[in-house]
C-alpha cells in the first residue's frame, strides 16, 4: 500500500515536472531573435516609432564580424 502510494506520488510529481519544465519551452540558440539595440523615436501626433536591431547569426561571430552589417533593423510605427 505504502509502495503504491509512493509510485503514485512519483508519477504525479514527474508529470508536474515535465509539464512545468519540460522540453516544450526548449529553444535552440539560432532560432532566438537576439535584440542588440532598441531605439524609440517620437513622431508628430502622439505616435512613437520603435526600431529594434536583431543579430543575424549568419553574419555575427567568428571571422565574419564587421564584414557586413551584423544585424537587421526592423521598425514599426
Amino acid at each position: 500500500m505504502y509502495h503504491k502510494r509512493c509510485l503514485m506520488a512519483a508519477a504525479v510529481l514527474l508529470t508536474i515536472v515535465f509539464m512545468t519544465a519540460g522540453c516544450w519551452d526548449r529553444d535552440e540558440v539560432e532560432e532566438l531573435g537576439i535584440v542588440l539595440g532598441i531605439a524609440i523615436k517620437s513622431l508628430p501626433g502622439e505616435r512613437v516609432q520603435m526600431i529594434a536591431q536583431f543579430a543575424n547569426p549568419r553574419l555575427v561571430g567568428g571571422a565574419q564580424v564587421g564584414r557586413e552589417t551584423p544585424g537587421a533593423s526592423i521598425s514599426s510605427k
Partner: protein, 546 residues
Amino acid sequence: MKSRDTDQMDNLLRYIDAYRGDTAVQRSGGSDPLPDIPQVAFSPVLDENVGLIQTLMGDNFDFILRRVRIRAAGGRRAAVFFLEEIVDTVEVSETILEPLAHFASFEPGEPGQDVMGGIVESILEAAAVAEQHDLRGLLEAVSTGQVGLLVDGVDRALSVDVRKYVRRQVDIPQTESSVRGPQDGFTEDEYLNLALIRQRIRSPHLVAESLNLGRVTSTVVGVVYIRGLAAPSLVHEVKSRLRRLDVDAVLESGYIEELTKDDPLSPFPLLLSTERPDRVAAGVLEGRVAIMVSNTPFVLVVPTEFTSMVSSPEDYYVGFPYGTIIRMVRYLALGTSLFLPAVYIAITTFHQEMLPTELILSIASAREGVPFPSIVELLIMEFLFEALREAGIRLPRPFGQAVSIVGALIIGQAAVQASLVSPLLIIVVAVTGIASFISPIFSMGLAMRFLRFPITLLGATLGLFGVAVGVLAILIHLAGLRSFGVPFMSPVVPANLTDWKDTFVRWGMWTMEKRPSQLFKSGRRRMARGLKPEPPQERFRQGGER
C-alpha cells in the same frame, strides 16, 4: 589389506562408462551434468591402479605415464604420471625419477617403516608432497599440475607439487601507469602477485589464505590481509562471501566483483580493482583485505571508498602540495566528464539568458546551418567518440593509426564542414572525453562514462533543473552505498573531519597520523607524534667544529 567394496566399484564402473560416453551420464543431484568422480580407494595392485588412471586420463595428449623401479625398495615397481606442460619436467626427472631409480637405500632404515613413508622422507627431493587416499583426490591433484606417484603393494598414492604454470614477466601496469613510483604491475600468476606484495610488506603478520572457486575451473583465489590490522569480522565476511560463490568458472576478478558487490545494481564499482602492487600494499596496511584471483592482473581491495577511487598512489609520492592540486584537478575533471555536456545543452537550449551576449551570438553563428537540435548533435558526437574509443582498444595494433587518422578527420573537420555538428560542440565532447580519461581506476571511469548519458538526457529535457535532479539522485545513491559494510562515501559522509586530510586534498604526511576511522575504532595511530621535519639547531660545517 583393505579392498574396495562393491558399492564403490559400481560407482566407478558407472563413472568410467560415462567418461567414455558409453552410457548417459549418471546424474547425481538435480541437473548437474558434471559427473562426480567416485571416491574410490586404491588397490594394492599397481597395474589395477595404473589401468584405472590410464582409462580416465590416458586420452589427453599431454598426459605422460612413466613406469619405474624403486631401487631403494628392492626394485619394487612404481608409476609416475603427470600432465606435461603444467609441470616442471626438469624438476620431475631431477627430484622424482632420478632419486627413485638411483638411491640405493632408505637412509635411516627404520625396520617397520612403510615404503611410502620411506619414499617421502628419504627419496623425493621436491618440497611439497602430499599423500592421496582416493582416486578423486589424486585426479584433482594431477589436473592442477602435480605429479602422481603410485607404488606397487601400497593402496595409497603420492602427489608431488612441481607445477610450473605459464607466466608472464612482471611488466608496467597497463591501465595505471605513473611517473614517480614503482613501475611493476601484477601479472596473471597469483604466486608472483603475492610475491610482489610480500616484497613490500615483509612482515610475518601478512596472511595469504587461499580458496578454490569455480566448480569446474577450481580457480585459486587468494585472500590477503594483515592479521591485527584487518578486522576479523571483515576477513570473515570476505571469506564467507567468496565461499558462497558456487559457479562453474571464475575467469577474472570481475566475476567476483559482480557477485559480491553490496549493491549489484549500482554503476559505481564497490570493490577497488587495481594492477598496482603498491596500491594493494597501501590498502592492506590500512586494514583492508585484498582478493587475488588467479589468471588476472586485477586484484580487488575491499572495503573501498569513493575517495580512494579518485586518488592515485602517486599522490603520496610527489609531496603534498602537488598531491593536493592533482587531486583537485581530478575531482574537477570528474565533474566535467559527468556534467559538461548536460550543462552545455541545458544552458544553450533553456537558459540562454545566462550567457554573455557575445558568447550566445558565437554559439548561434556556429550552429547556423546545423539541421539537428543540440541534443541530437551531441548524441551523434558522443556515439562517434565512444565508437572510436572502443575501436581503438579492440583493433589489431597495425590498424590503430588508420583509425586515429580517420577519427580525427571525421570528428575534427568533415563533420563540421558537412554541417552535421557545430564546432563548439566538438570542443564540449572533446573536453568531456579527455576529462573522462582522468580517473585513476578504470572501473570508476566506466561508471562516469555510463552516468553521463542519463544526466545529459535530463539536461536536455528539463534544463538545469534536470541536471540538479540528476546530481541529487547520484548523491542520494552514493550516500546509501556500502562496500563490504563500510559506507562508500566515508569519511566524507558519515563525516570524520580529521580524516578529510586525505580525501579531496592530500595533506602533509606527518599530519596523517591515524589509520582511517571507518576501518578502525581504536589503535588508529600509525606513526609517532611530531614527525614534522625541522632544520637542526646548529650548522654542520667540516673543519668548523670546536
